[in-house]
């Protein structure tokens, strides 16, 4: 016997969580895009999309974030820290790739300096992953050795049952159990089976790719130029990616006062590596694309023993010139 959360009880659950002080966030279809956003009632959710256009990372690592306010006086500089917004929240209906993305980035945000903005939000968020029963042409979690029902990064895993009637509940962490204890009155014992998760075909051989990338001879391979010739060097793929995490620190204000902010930045941009002298060690788009692939599948796992990609497919889905990680790794596996 497993417990089931029936979708007609979702309204009650949302109300319950909210009255217990948890902000409720979930996949929402807005007029122009879909994203994870605050919901007030059950009908605000949209569980129908394969994957929201925008990733879950931005709820933990927003595109711009104030860090401190500074005032420069004659002989001193005053600073006042911003603290990350406080408040518990439950993210109901994360996709496995998005939740995995958070766990992939944890070591990055904590290895030398513990990023309080990231970890405060991580500690205050309950992640409820819903296993995928459909996928599109771009989904590729399985190629990254994840699954449509991966529990990575999740506090609770839900498995949909037939006819959108609800979900089987698998509590995974204490944080998850605590949040679901709040709504236990709405959970029912049942033997109804879960729908099978979608079959996502493997698109490339990851191990073969990693071996190729690790071979120093391939750093200067002609392959890089060929595969990235049409890349226009925008940041669409990095900014929508649930694991890309680069940022820039900028002081915004005038000579006397302002705000220091942490803003998204991207290895796709020429400016990213531009030296003050004008020299740019990554002067071509192919060098920048190589960096993106090397970082995700060679350098990052070298340091943190996990690939910096969860296979969500957004980079390919959204690329203005129909590129993306998938094609490059497929090409590498076929080399």
């Amino acid at each position: 016997m497993t417990r089931i959360l029936f979708s007609d009880k979702l309204d009650n659950c949302v109300a319950k969580w909210r009255s217990a002080g948890l902000a409720v966030i979930g996949p929402v279809q807005e007029e122009a895009i879909s994203r994870y956003a605050a919901v007030e009632k059950g009908t605000d959710f949209d569980f129908g999309t394969v994957l929201p256009d925008r990733s879950l990372k931005e709820l933990f690592f927003p595109q711009t974030e104030p860090m401190l306010r500074y005032t420069i006086k004659k002989n001193e500089i005053d600073t006042a820290d911003f603290t990350p917004p406080q408040g518990k929240r439950i993210i109901f209906g994360a996709r496995a790739c998005d939740a995995s993305g958070l766990e992939i980035d944890d070591p990055l945000f904590g290895w030398d300096y513990k990023d309080e903005f990231w970890f405060q939000r991580r500690n205050e968020s309950v992640i409820v992953t819903i296993a995928c029963t459909k996928a599109d042409d771009f989904c590729m979690c399985t190629s990254l050795k994840l699954e449509p029902d991966s529990t990575k990064g999740a506090d609770v895993l839900l498995r949909p049952i037939d006819k959108n009637k609800g979900w089987l509940v698998e509590e995974l962490t204490d944080r998850g159990r605590e949040a679901f204890a709040l709504i236990s009155e709405y959970l029912q014992e049942s033997s109804e089976p879960a729908l099978p998760t979608v079959v996502v075909p493997e698109k490339f051989n990851l191990d073969a790719c990693v071996t190729w990338l690790k071979n120093p001879e391939n750093f200067e391979s002609k392959f890089w130029k060929e595969i990235s010739m049409r890349c226009i060097g925008c940041a669409s793929c990095t900014y929508l990616c649930p694991t890309c995490h680069c940022f820039d620190i900028q002081d915004e204000g005038d000579t006397y006062s302002g705000i220091r902010r942490k803003n998204w930045d991207s290895c796709s941009f020429a400016l990213f590596t531009m030296h003050t002298s004008g020299h740019n060690p990554r002067s071509t788009q192919s060098a920048r694309w190589r960096q993106r692939i090397m970082h995700k599948f060679n350098y990052f796992p070298g340091k943190f023993t996990v690939n910096s990609c969860s296979g969500c497919g957004r980079c390919s889905r959204q690329c203005p010139v129909d590129m993306g990680i998938t094609e490059t790794l497929q090409a590498i596996s076929n080399l």
Partner: protein, 276 residues
């Protein structure tokens, strides 16, 4: 289909006799409805060429990236009329030599693709002049009409809402053939002229800067609008600015390679004195 086959043959011939070193066209993409840019250097690569109504990307930006034309060899490129206009602007702004560009023109109505006569930008002037006379009806759309009925406050709110989604990925800029600046104003960081922050104010700054820099230069190819990952209707801004310069200065961007840039030129008999 016939157009595609003919062009394949032409491209192969021109490559074989050395008239062009490369042709930039389209090939199938990752899903049946997608097309992606193709760089043809050999006749095997020419076999991949696809030309149908779903080939919509304006490819001319590739001509001015990473020194493609610096060896002075000629390059062929598949262009719709908007693309030809962008070649003219790039030439007028001294970014390329129009004689180096061999145009494979095409256009489509519904699913039907037809070739356009001419191989050099100059030969398209008749067609472009016709376009100037009738562009407005083609691009009219409901959202634009809705915005035109709004008062200033409503319009401000509308755009504030739209720009609040911007993530400053600069895909609009990178996709735009007219955004070729080696160092965009937002990348000028000694000092930082425009904030890099992607909050609502920063997003406004960015989108307004771009709208002004594109006024009288945009060819309405739609590259920016299609590239925007958060679906901001950028076409409407450019459309509006194009209408402004047409009404105010009788200027239709990209008519010829010698056309004066509307916002970077002045006439001595201009009734406005502020610029002198």
């Amino acid at each position: 289909m016939i157009t595609q086959e003919r062009y394949r043959t032409t491209v192969k011939e021109l490559l074989a006799n050395g008239s062009i070193k490369m042709a930039i066209g389209y090939k199938p993409g990752s899903t049946p409805d997608r097309r992606r840019p193709l760089f043809i250097r050999t006749s095997e690569e020419a076999e991949q060429l696809v030309l149908d109504s779903t080939c919509v990307q304006n490819l001319s930006g590739y001509l001015v990236s990473e020194g493609l034309l610096s060896d002075e060899k000629r390059v062929g490129i598949f262009l719709r009329p908007e693309g030809v206009r962008s070649i003219n602007i790039l030439a007028a702004e001294y970014q390329l030599n129009a004689d180096q560009i061999v145009i494979f023109g095409f256009d489509s109505t519904g699913r039907e693709v037809r070739p356009l006569d001419g191989r050099s930008a100059r030969e398209f002037s008749g067609l472009l002049n016709e376009l100037k006379e009738k562009p407005l009806q083609i691009y009219k759309e409901p959202l634009l009409e809705r915005i035109e009925k709004m008062n200033a406050k409503e319009r401000f709110d509308f755009w504030q809402e739209e720009f609040s989604r911007c993530i400053k990925c600069y895909a609009c800029r990178q996709a735009c053939p007219m955004c070729y600046c080696r160092r965009c104003i937002v990348d000028s960081n000694q000092p930082q002229w425009v904030n890099t922050s992607s909050h609502t104010l920063g997003n406004f700054e960015w989108n307004i800067v771009r709208a002004f820099h594109l006024s009288g230069r945009c060819v309405q190819c739609g590259n920016c609008d299609r590239a925007c990952p958060v679906n901001i209707p950028l076409r409407l801004i450019n459309q509006r600015m194009a209408n402004e310069v047409l009404d105010g200065f009788d200027h239709f961007a990209g008519l010829s390679a010698t056309q004066e840039p509307v916002l970077a030129s002045f006439k001595k008999d201009d009734t406005e004195t502020f610029i002198l």
